[in-house]
Symmetry: C2
Subunit: 190 residues, 2 copies
């Protein structure tokens, strides 16, 4: 998606160790018009898979997941990293390593909002190693739901997430696929 | 806002101690169409205050802040509760008591995205005691920005947040103002 790629080239910053800073429009400050355009494009790419629910992980996944779900007309569930007091005692919980935090985090979903028969589209800001998305896959499958697609704003193809997700046999889409970051140079796959 | 009030009456749950569970459409599962309608209504109410930036706190503030910002056509910044590695060493940080967590949390903003001359509209899911919103006010004022309005989806008037915020002298808007919750009975101010 040209608009997102241009923004990454203009404002993204390679911090080294595979970390791309996009805090000016995705991860701290959010450009809602760009997010809406990204959600519209992801919804377009996944319009034929009959999604009943979008699933993401707090925190940075929320904005693109909400705009994608808005254009698909389905609810979105965001997995929590800490169990709030409003959640029942019995939950779906999985552990996943966090690339940017350097530790393991919990992903928690209430069985109230994900269950049998749901057709789940996973949306996140980044597809890197795929660890967070695989955590969401485990949660959805434990809940008895079916994964029907995976979408991300930005893919870092050199971190192998797509290969890790391919056994799912579902369409995987990213709006900007980065195949190399060296110093100030960020290059896209196509 | 009638649509939100009806949803609260239909799906909201009074858990006691002033806690209203709205996990089915705001705090865990999000109804993006409702969030968009709420954002549109908040944008309409604040259209004359010349906002340059919407400010909220992660996590549950993100969805309504993004949709409000989308309809106002301005960026949104969400204060982080943990400093990510992408943030500079020098940040704006304040402490605020969390009603639902029973402890103090940090609110952190990078000076890269909030500064002098900004006209800030604060948007959050709840206006309860006003503690989180006052934390955001302190951050914005420290950054040299001006608060021009405060908006929330749901106000619990019996927790005194509006009174705490009135000294700011800015318009305060909520889309559903609850004045009492007793057992299964939730009643609105108007």
């Amino acid at each position: 998606m040209q608009q997102l790629k241009e923004r990454i080239l203009r404002e993204g910053k390679n911090l080294g160790n595979g970390i791309l800073k996009v805090d000016g429009f995705i991860n701290h400050q959010v450009d809602p018009l760009l997010m809406d355009a990204c959600g519209q494009e992801l919804a377009r790419r996944f319009k034929n898979i009959h999604t009943t629910k979008v699933l993401t992980a707090e925190i940075s996944g929320i904005a693109p997941a909400v705009t994608t779900a808005l254009h698909l007309g389905v609810p979105v569930v965001y997995a929590r990293k800490h169990k709030p007091i409003t959640m029942p005692d019995q939950v779906f919980l999985t552990l996943t390593p966090s690339h940017t935090k350097g530790r393991t985090v919990e992903l928690i979903i209430s069985p109230e909002y994900l269950g049998h028969g749901e057709r789940v589209l996973i949306i996140d800001d980044f597809l890197a190693t795929g660890a967070t998305i695989l955590g969401l896959v485990r949660l959805a499958q434990t809940a008895g739901a079916t994964i029907v697609g995976v979408g991300a704003l930005i893919e870092k193809s050199f971190e192998g997430g797509r290969v890790a997700l391919e056994p799912l046999g579902v369409p995987i889409e990213s709006l900007a696929c980065i195949d190399a970051m060296e110093g100030d140079l960020i290059s896209f796959k196509d």
